[in-house]
Point group: C2
Chain length 375, copies 2
């Protein structure tokens, strides 16, 4: 979708024209009452579910959650995925050509915020003729967008589903983001953000950034279970090789993840998205009072968190729950015992999926959407 | 101290000649029974206590613990600090001149292990005429050296004091070390470890490495308390600046720490010491059975851990305690409630210091060293 009218950003910039890549699943009903917006986190996109037409290996990032007969059942709901402004999967971002210079935006691309994304998504909804969503849903940074929707456009969503998220980043969260950004920015191939013009990619920095991020997505327990101190290619007697090449499995895994990421993700987008995370803080406007910040919300809420998530631990979700309860909002909250850290929100955990499935059943009944297919 | 005879390293290399920088405090008694070896962690040195003769701002890294009237009282004990082989504070390390090439060792410097350091320290003790230490003490990586002493030279120490340490790094610990190493190794100024010859220093990589490390030394609670989401130089209305320069206090702090570290620490030493951490695992020889690995120990033990230390949490110390108890070793264990994460072992916490002071009182009584000065 191309938008000619500039978008007013939190930073003060009016940005446009721009395009957003949008993918939809299922059918919008005649009453236009069954639409669900799914918001993506750091490295995901509009491609929420199913298999890409041009690449059978390109499965949607939340395919275990969204699809026919799945917890968010596309036989009943019309699901929309939007690649956010500034991302690198088809929507206008730092690597896109700036029409005013005919060169990639690079460092000139504006900083965007969660609220900016929400406004951009509202325009997508307008374009699709959706006045009010049955639900807006997201995990992690996606959950921030759902929460922001609930206070920015309170009458445009019936339900708000916020998973493994937080009302604001902690100092430690910001610290990890900052180290990742420093790794990118100090990579000589970054060229102050204008690496496209130099024909380079700051792959080393991007790779280190991803490795740092990856450690924070997994729980210590999970890493212990998956890798422990297993050696990569131990000699017959198990002796170490005494060098700085890969010695342990966990090193090999992390290097691979960093390497892979650096081949498909845009470095400026990484800066931009981590900064949007840092800046998110709806209670900043209300002197730190989260209940006051969430007072405009009219939706019903589902929140879920995971016990071993140390990036956005359950206490963060509980804080949102308590602020909503202080506003007498109907809230369902599930704290899922799961070993997989922050990444758990993307995984197929039966208890977690049962909670989400049950919640969508309730939405469907409430909106009179009829029975879904059995799982 | 210069050692001409090569040291046989775990890697198989016989390394030498080499020198170790040694600093001592207090007086060795006639019976040579009051010597305490203090082992250092990642970025510390032989300069344990007091003020450097040539620089009044250069205070020893454990000066709150070691000195006249302090928990480790140098009026009673003869304390020895040794800068470990491969470090960069006067002992032979990667930046030293290799006599066989007349150029800095660089990438040619061998990987060393905790056990290698222990053997090198034993030679220092021999040189000083110390057959048996009253105690060997260390925190974090220093604690690993103390523990290794207890099983490598069981009859050469009466007491072993292991603080905020672990019997082995977890997968997550190794992962953080590996990311830090990648940041250094992929810095173009690193030149495969031979940056000295190129007249460069991989300061960006070293700085990122230190920032990562630093996050793991502090607790999340501590960072929240110290920095929270405080902005560095907020505008009058507190608005963000919407950019990638320092916006939050925690970013400024981390950048400063990284910057400072990159000016005085050697990049190859950083690799070497993190690798020594990774490799430490006394139970590797005994099929993972820590009790069996610690069976040779004859010392009495003090272990201490800190509740908010998520790098080497109390469970790591408890595992050592249990393995020692299975060997019927006398063990004192203190789990200190302290907010400062792993760094707590370096800080002046009254309960922690009282435990160490009391333990040294007991050692002094046991060895008939007489009364110390009142604190």
């Amino acid at each position: 979708m191309v938008f000619d009218e500039p978008l007013q950003l939190a930073s003060g910039t009016a940005f446009g024209p721009y395009q957003l890549t949008v993918e939809t699943y299922g059918t919008l009903n005649a009453e236009r009452s069954n639409a669900v917006l799914v918001c993506h986190a750091l490295n995901a996109s509009h491609h929420v579910a199913g298999v890409a037409a041009d690449d059978p290996s390109d499965i949607g990032w939340w395919d275990n959650m969204v699809g026919p007969g799945k917890p968010l059942d596309t036989d009943r709901f019309f699901v929309i995925g939007v690649n956010n402004l500034g991302s690198c999967f088809g929507s206008t971002g730092p690597a896109s050509i700036d029409p005013s210079t005919q060169r990639p935006y690079g460092a000139a691309f504006p900083v965007v915020t969660v609220e900016d994304w929400v406004h951009a998504q509202a325009r997508v909804a307008d374009r699709l003729g959706i006045r009010r969503f049955a639900a807006i849903m997201g995990g992690s940074l996606g959950g921030m967008q759902a929460l922001s929707w609930a206070v920015t456009y309170p009458d445009r969503l019936a339900h708000c589903i916020v998973i493994a998220s937080t009302p604001r980043l902690s100092a430690q969260n910001i610290a990890f983001n900052e180290v990742a950004r420093r790794a990118i920015i100090t990579d000589p191939e970054f060229h102050g953000g204008d690496f496209y013009a130099h024909g380079t990619v700051p792959r080393n920095g991007l790779s280190v950034a991803r490795m740092i991020g990856h450690i924070t997505y997994l729980s210590g327990e999970d890493m212990a279970e998956k890798f422990g101190r297993a050696q990569r290619e131990p000699s017959a007697d198990g002796a170490f090789r005494y060098g700085y090449d890969v010695e342990f499995e966990v090193e090999s895994y992390l290097r691979y993840q960093g390497e892979k990421f650096s081949r498909y993700f845009d470095a400026n987008t990484y800066l931009l998205i981590t900064r949007a995370l840092d800046y998110f803080d709806p209670a900043k406007r209300t002197g730190g009072d989260l209940a006051k910040a969430l007072a405009p919300a009219q939706a019903e809420f589902l929140l879920a968190s995971f016990t071993t998530d140390w990036r956005f631990p359950p206490s963060c979700s509980r804080e949102i729950v308590q602020a909503l309860l202080r506003n007498h909002r109907p809230v369902t909250y599930a704290e899922i015992e799961a070993p997989h850290g922050h990444d758990a929100f993307l995984l197929d955990d039966s208890r977690y999926h049962a909670v989400v499935r049950g919640y969508y059943e309730r939405i469907a009944r409430q909106l009179g959407l009829g029975e879904g297919s059995a799982p």
